[in-house]
């Protein structure tokens, strides 16, 4: 008995503990309902709650409820006990007006605490215009079967099931994102499934980005005066790659419909379970034309190709580094648009940095409004030279689809101080002498600048051009020089004639003088004799060497002779004759015999005559 009590106690404790678990209190209702049709609103709680206070149902008539139902389950898995409990309150409501109606949250008390449910927003669609053939899934109830207008055999009209192509925009700019969805509408038929036999067009001229398709959700939609069940079966993001009218081809899907047989033989089972046939039906979503405008002219210089809405931010790891340290600039582009097509902007690193390829990290998500997310670019460079550097701002420009214009963004400019660093980064003693020489590097190329000084006046042309009588510049000097040549020639010839005569006559003249000397020798005047001898020698040499007599004297005669190629012996002899004659002239007593001198002179003249000078 006592043990039982303990057990009971334990169970109570456990259940109290269970209260301590999270309380979830939820309101559920279809998102879309149709005017004049009842629907169910449920409040579900996973604990034992009481005192449910529903909100004001102003625009809804409460047809029934609240009905309470509860369920609980306990399970042991691998010796672990888990239990679940749900308490559901159900109202049956009917809307009274069209439009969007909000329902405030309900409250419930669990233990001593009050919990609130979520609020609801319910769209009330207008009722079908013509008397509906079916009104949603529920319409296939037994009540409707009786009029049998709709579900006869496999007759499934085009109005009852069709597809639409829905695009977010039909007029876009190049690269601007559009969301395309293929939506199926059906009413009064039982859609079972889709076969694999689908044909999605190629989307020529677009870049396609499929969206992850979760579970297909059905909704109610009022379309062309009727309420349909709808579901989006395929959704994709399209980025037009060129301008003009781009055609989207129709897509086709194949759906399997379940159609109730109004078979001839109605067995008891058929009556009970109903009998259904699967009918496949080809559905075509119509094609579309998207009008794509090209981006306006005047693209900024650093246009990244981005279209959408972006924002950039940047950061730098360090601004004060030492040589051979790495520095990283991080650029983050955030936004929505054609993120995948963005060009990586480049940093114009100053010289002296070893630049590595930037590391790009993409974090994109396909959403119905386009690809959004962030692109992180890390630029790594290693400083190889000390100094202060300025890293120019990174420019990023894109076409803003919200403001319809080009936008230019810029990161701040960074200044970097690279110090020479401590000892270990200095080159060691061994390689200290080695300095890697560098040629001037051509970084870019462009034409040279204009000439900016004053306009140089045309310089005077010295002689003019090769036209007209240019050859006179050559003919006139040539003729003049020819004339000059002839004159010179004649003069030289004349001079040469005189010299030759004197040359030839030299001996004769000398002999004459010698004869005179001989006469003087026999005579009394010794001075006359010596004078004649000297004159004879000088006159002969002058004639013979073609040198004027006036320029000839005893001092330069030996030099002249040597220059003319006379032998040293001859020069000596000439000198001795001349000095003897001179000495004898001024001091006759010192002289030797006149006969000797006369003979010596005659011999000398003979000798010179034989030598070619």
């Amino acid at each position: 008995m006592i043990r039982r009590k303990i057990l009971l106690f334990a169970m109570v404790v456990l259940s109290v503990l269970a209260y301590a678990e999270d309380v979830s209190f939820q309101a559920n209702a279809p998102k879309q309902v149709i005017l004049g049709r009842p629907f169910q609103l449920t409040y579900t709680i996973n604990q034992r709650g009481k005192d449910l206070r529903a909100p004001e149902f102003g625009d809804f008539d409460v047809l029934a409820g609240p009905y309470t139902s509860q369920s609980s389950s306990t399970s042991f898995v691998n010796g672990k006990r888990s239990s679940s409990f749900t308490l559901t309150f159900t109202y049956t409501l009917m809307p009274r007006r069209e439009g969007e109606i909000s329902l405030a949250p309900a409250t419930i008390t669990v233990g001593h605490d009050q919990y609130r449910s979520n609020g609801l927003k319910i769209t009330v669609l207008p009722a079908d215009e013509e008397q509906p053939t079916g009104g949603g899934q529920q319409a296939a109830s037994s009540g409707q079967q009786r009029d049998g207008r709709q579900q006869q055999g496999s007759q499934v009209g085009g109005d009852n099931i069709f597809m639409r192509t829905v695009v977010s925009k039909t007029k876009v700019r190049e690269q601007e994102c559009i969301l395309l969805s293929y939506k199926i509408y059906w009413a009064g038929v039982d859609l079972a499934q889709f076969t694999n036999n689908t044909k999605i067009p190629e989307f020529k001229g677009f870049l396609k980005q499929d969206l992850e398709q979760g579970e297909i959700q059905t909704n109610l939609e009022h379309y062309n005066g009727r309420n349909y069940q709808t579901a989006v079966i395929y959704q994709t993001l399209l980025y037009p790659q060129k301008s003009g009218d781009l055609q989207i081809d129709p897509a086709s899907f194949e759906a399997v419909l379940r159609v109730q047989n109004r078979a001839q033989v109605r067995s008891i089972f058929d009556d009970f379970f109903g009998s259904y046939t699967n009918v496949t039906r080809q559905l075509t979503a119509p094609g579309m034309t998207i009008h794509v405008e090209s981006l306006p002219s005047g693209k900024p210089a650093g246009f990244s190709g981005g279209v959408g809405h972006f924002d950039i931010s940047s950061s730098i790891t360090q601004q004060d580094i030492s040589m051979n340290d790495a520095v990283t600039i991080k650029l983050t582009v955030k936004g929505t648009g054609n993120m995948k097509l963005l060009k990586t902007p480049a940093i114009d690193w100053p010289e002296g940095f070893e630049v590595y390829d930037p590391k790009v990290n993409n974090n994109f998500k396909n959403t119905t409004s386009g690809v959004s997310g962030s692109k992180t670019i890390e630029y790594l460079a290693i400083a190889r030279a000390a100094g202060d550097y300025t890293i120019p701002p990174i420019e990023f420009s894109y076409y803003d689809t919200q403001e319809n214009k080009y936008k230019q963004l810029q990161t701040p400019e960074y200044t970097l101080h690279v110090s020479r660093g401590n000892g270990d980064t200095e080159p060691s003693a061994v390689v200290q002498n080695y300095v890697s020489k560098e040629d001037i590097k051509q970084i870019g190329s462009d034409i040279r600048y204009i000439h900016t000084g004053s306009l140089p006046t045309e310089r005077h042309r010295l002689l003019g051009d090769f036209d007209g009588l240019w050859y006179l510049y050559f003919v006139v000097p040539a003729l003049l020089s020819l004339l000059l040549f002839l004159i010179f020639r004649k003069q030289i010839k004349d001079n040469a004639d005189i010299a030759r005569v004197r040359y030839k006559k030299a001996n004769k003249v000398a002999q004459k003088r010698l004869k005179k000397a001989k006469q003087a020798m026999s005579g009394s005047s010794a001075e006359d004799f010596y004078e004649e001898i000297e004159k004879a020698a000088f006159q002969y040499l002058s004639d013979r060497l073609s040198i004027p007599l006036a320029t000839l004297n005893k001092e330069n005669i030996s030099d002249i002779l040597r220059k003319k190629g006379a032998s040293e012996e001859l020069v000596q002899e000439v000198n001795s004759v001349l000095s003897t004659a001179e000495a004898a002239r001024y001091a006759p007593s010192m002289a030797g015999g006149k006969e000797d001198l006369y003979q010596a002179t005659a011999d000398l003249i003979d000798k010179i005559e034989k030598v070619k000078l």
Binding site: L455, E458, F466, Y473
Partner: protein, 243 residues
């Protein structure tokens, strides 16, 4: 009265100097199209290498590469040693589509032509006359000088100067011929089909793009025969412009 004449004579010069400054200002401020018009006006009044050079730069900036090449070529005609014009011409030629097709293929003649283009015509004439006078002087030395070595040297010098003078005359005459015939031209039209005959219906032989240099060898009506490298064909005169 005399003063008035001087003023009248100086007037065009002043206008030129003024518009030259204006054109340079327009260029430096980036109004290249405006600068082009101004430089063209100055170029109308007289040939000046610097005006052609700046005009070429302005054309280059406005994107008219063919016109820029034409202006640089004209600048180099006036001053063959204009280094900036040479550099910019090479740069502009790197921007055009057609490869540079030399009209002269024999290397010796090509070399000679390059040598010829180093100096303008009038300088060649001065050089030729100077060398000729030197030749005469050395000839005189050879004829009348005393010492044998001097005479030998004079003879050698006379021969060398005579040859050099003849070369200079050839260079100058050749340049004069080129400038009077004006047989070199630049293609101005974006793309031109070169025909086999001077006729609209002629077979298309090859295609030339703007900025390419061609040599004109014959003209028939509004057509002319051109040489571009080894290719010969007929082209409309208005598609090209003579340098």
């Amino acid at each position: 009265m005399k003063r008035l004449i001087y003023i009248l004579l100086l007037f065009p010069l002043c206008v030129n100097a003024q518009s030259w400054e204006d054109a340079n200002t327009a260029y430096s401020e980036g109004n290249y199209a405006e600068a082009v018009v101004m430089y063209e006006n100055i170029a109308q009044t007289g040939n000046n290498a610097e005006v052609q050079y700046n005009l070429g730069n302005a054309y280059f900036r406005t994107g008219e590469i063919a016109r820029a090449i034409l202006a640089y070529e004209r600048c180099l005609r006036l001053n063959p040693r204009h280094k900036d014009a040479k550099f910019n011409l090479t740069f502009a030629e790197s921007q055009i589509i057609d490869n540079k097709a030399d009209t002269q293929t024999f290397f010796l003649l090509k070399w000679a032509r390059g040598f010829r283009n180093m100096l303008p015509e009038n300088v060649w004439l001065v050089l030729a006359v100077t060398l000729f006078l030197l030749f005469i002087v050395s000839l005189f030395l050879f004829a009348f000088a005393g010492p044998l070595t001097l005479r030998k040297t004079a003879f050698a010098v006379s021969i060398v100067t005579l040859i050099l003078s003849a070369c200079s005359v050839w260079c100058g005459l050749s340049l004069h011929h080129r400038d009077s015939v004006r047989d070199e031209a630049i293609v101005m039209q974006g793309i031109v089909n070169v025909k086999a005959s001077p006729d609209k219906s002629g077979t298309d032989l090859f295609v030339l793009h703007e900025g390419t240099k061609v040599r004109i060898s014959d003209t028939v009506g509004e057509w002319c025969q051109i040489h571009a490298g080894d290719n010969i064909g007929w082209i409309r005169l208005k598609a090209i412009e003579r340098i």
